[in-house]
Symmetry: C2
């Protein structure tokens, strides 16, 4: 009994840093950059600003790098800086149900904590919320025993930008080029976010510039309430306990999306509940009946405005820009739901041209516009690709392996909450609703590809006959 | 800024229940049983008691089951019951560095929380710490917004056992037989823990009894300090800040394992630090030099007494009991270290006999004597098996797939801290030190198997000539 103790979130994650994507020095560099860049893109998107990012990686010693990510976003209010960077499970996105790159309140504090763990250095933040506000310079560490920030420095600073944030972290890392590198992440990010401008200075090399491909912001996703499908009984009980609404009818309409007066009438009638009953007066068996009926009633699909798909046109353009292929296709599925969370699958396919025909296909995975570069074997996306019989679409395929052929697949899942296999946000959990949508999209593209290949063969054969 | 909020651990894990192993109803049943059984085996081991467990699964509705796990362990002190079952990240094992099945302070509270989430029912605990103490009956739920227990019931109870604990959870689940079932988990658990007696009543079937195979407790692992190899700079800084020791020499000797006076003298000399300096007086660059020297100094391997390997004899006996094979072999590697944590690999191999020759080999994975039944593709154990060229050991093997042949591998990793890929404790993270040890053990067994196969072929050929 004497040994029973509370474990702080930060202590837990120091011991489990591989759960956050900091397993080894090469991956750590990628994860740290990704968490900062994702925050910058989210912040600009939130504030309606076309993002301009400056990313710099400087080598400080053989296995030590200093990364710096700067954005022209809205900046961070001074009073919030310590907790945002010095406390895990603190942020603005967890309780907000709409598509965002971040969702946990962990990312950048974990990156700073890993820097501190491997070099002893604090994370440095420079931030300005507007031209009439002063810029502030903070040095922050995480007190890992208590999951609280320690502010080592907090001063006004001169910084000649109108508004924005710059985050600097020094960490033990290894820089490698090629697949799964930071360079690859930045290139894929530029393609998935054509409205963003990125300046990138890799270590010991020429700086790169990715100019904006479009000058219009994508539609900002809207915050929504959960969709009733797949919401657990305990969540419904909690909702009815906590709702400010005075009647069950109002609670259902206000606290869920897609629940109309007509649906409320039908549902309360089937569940034998008075629509104007007070939510807290329902008995557990009342709520159980209500829950069962809600799962089966006919509801409209979730609203699309909480999601921001890349879009078939941008996907095709991105693939054509990056690869020399004969044939480029894309499909964006209509939104679907898992556990009350709307999600949407989109896939781009490039075939032929310079793509090698005798190798396993290349598979690029993205979630909420963020490239996923690790844990492919754990990912639902990979599982879905492996579960399709590509021999029906003119490719060869051995059991349990990706198909062989001159093809590239870019697969994007957009959701108000992406179910990752761990907090490192690298692979997607195997929810059957998601795998089903992936397969439908893959088979759609497969059919169109097979028809293109047959058509091309017929044309070639006829040309030979002449 | 108004949107910045703290996220409670329980809220986070309700949304991320797939991180805890509750992705779907079939897996949920397995995870809930496993978390309770692991706790019972750990508690008996801690208290030096030969474990007798009673496990019962009762079907309550089409997709609803009530599980009950009872042990003859030391029982739980009444004052601790609410937090143990009603609060995540609370327990006795996280801060104790020795081999145990649990390590996070999450398991059983998560199982109770999933039951509550899907059925609205609390977890029920019956516990007694000794014949002179009263037995207590508790009903506990988790207040998920605050990560605090809510006690719905707390009464004395009549229970005619000397000491022990019974945990009952009602949850939405699906019961299936076969691989990855609860039945399979219990059978593997009985084999990996020959000193345990298990009564198991599956739903709607005859009860099963696994009697004790040995009546001697395995050596209880001893609690240790971290080994210096692989400990991060930030951890060393933290240690020197927090140590009650008055000199650097005493801190190094007391707060690490395997640091002798001789090592202290050598390390402080190379790092240009006075051995009797006060730990808090060291500058960051002092600590950096000390850290670098510690990584490179010659140290004894970690003590073996913090680990409790199953042992080559028990592994061979278990395999021979379960499978009809011509050839059974096992190897237990000496202990090694990753990130300051001792670990040990052991592998059992069964070949020939009734094992089908034309199928992929069967791979059983265990960590700290607990069977791992999911996420094989994400696991370091599977990765290590795939990385060995089994064609050198008389098996056929296609790229990226397990080898084909009449072979079963049982692979066990014992550690003071198992690096799982997520909190569900289903697959092992790819630490290079661990993969290296796995490969060495696999290749050792592979060579011995190849030699056995060659020998058998020679004998068969000679018999044919006569
Ligand atoms: N560059 C930035 N500009 C403005 N706000 C930021 C910036 N970076 C972080 N924030 C704020 O800090 C919060 C915490 O960031 P953090 O990365 O720790 O978590 P998150 O982005 O919410 O989730 P995740 O753990 O998935 O990344 C964010 O929710 C956001 O409100
Ligand atoms: N049957 C039991 N008998 C005695 N003590 C128990 C029993 N079950 C749980 N405990 C105590 O409750 C604590 C919390 O259990 P819990 O399963 O939540 O976490 P854990 O076992 O420490 O780690 P993990 O999350 O990896 O399972 C344990 O550390 C142990 O001290
Ligand atoms: Mg973030
Ligand atoms: Mg446990």
């Amino acid at each position: 009994a004497q040994k029973q103790r509370e474990i702080s979130v930060s202590e837990f994650f120091v011991k489990n840093r591989h759960l956050l994507g900091f397993d080894n020095p090469q991956k750590a560099l990628l994860t740290a950059v990704r968490e900062c860049v994702d925050n910058s893109l989210d912040a600009c998107s939130d504030a309606g600003i076309l993002p301009s990012l400056r990313i710099e990686i400087v080598q400080r010693a053989e296995n030590r790098f200093r990364i710096s990510v700067e954005d022209n976003g809205p900046g961070i209010v001074r009073g919030q800086i310590p907790k945002i960077f010095g406390k895990l499970l603190y942020g603005s996105k967890f309780h907000t149900l709409k598509q965002q790159r971040g969702q946990q309140g962990i990312g950048v504090s974990a990156a700073g904590m890993y820097g501190q763990l491997t070099t002893g250095k604090p994370v440095t933040i420079l931030s300005r919320t507007g031209p009439n506000a002063a810029a502030h310079h903070f040095d922050v560490t995480v007190d890992t025993k208590k999951n609280q920030p320690l502010v080592l420095r907090d001063e006004k600073a001169d910084w000649d930008v109108k508004h924005g944030t710059r985050v600097t972290i020094e960490l033990e890392a290894i820089y490698k080029r090629g697949r799964r590198s930071v360079d690859d992440y930045i290139e894929q990010t530029a393609l998935a976010n054509p409205h963003a401008e990125i300046h990138y200075a890799p270590p010991n090399q020429e700086a790169l510039h990715y100019p904006r491909a479009v000058s219009v912001l994508p539609q900002e996703p809207k915050e929504i309430k959960p969709h009733p499908y797949g919401v657990e009984l305990g969540m419904l009980m909690r909702l009815l306990q906590d709702t400010p609404a005075r009647t069950v009818a109002a609670a259902l309409k206000n606290d869920f999306s897609r629940v109309s007066d007509k649906v409320v009438a039908e549902v309360t009638k089937s569940a034998l509940i008075k629509p104007n009953a007070r939510p807290r007066d329902l008995t557990p068996s009342d709520v159980e009946r209500l829950h069962a009926v809600l799962q089966n009633v006919k509801l409209m699909s979730p609203a699309t405005n909480c999601l921001s798909p890349i879009g078939e046109e941008s996907i095709r353009a991105g693939l054509s820009k990056r690869f020399v292929a004969d044939y480029v296709d894309a499909v964006t599925r209509p939104p679907s739901v898992y556990r009350g969370n709307p999600f949407q699958v989109e896939i781009g396919l490039a075939y032929g041209g310079d793509i090698p025909a005798d190798e396993l296909i290349d598979l690029y995975r993205l979630a909420n516009r963020v490239p996923l570069q690790y844990q492919s074997s754990a990912c639902a996306i990979t599982k879905a690709v492996l579960s399709v019989d590509w021999r029906a679409y003119a490719m060869s395929m051995s059991k349990g392996a990706l198909p062989t052929g001159p093809m590239i697949l870019m697969i994007h899942i957009a959701s108000v909450w992406v179910p990752f296999t761990s907090e490192s946000k690298e692979a997607i959990a195997h929810y059957p609703e998601i795998i089903r949508e992936l397969r439908l999209a893959l088979m759609e593209l497969g059919r169109r590809l097979a028809s293109h290949i047959r058509h091309r063969r017929r044309v070639a054969d006829e040309a030979k006959k002449k």
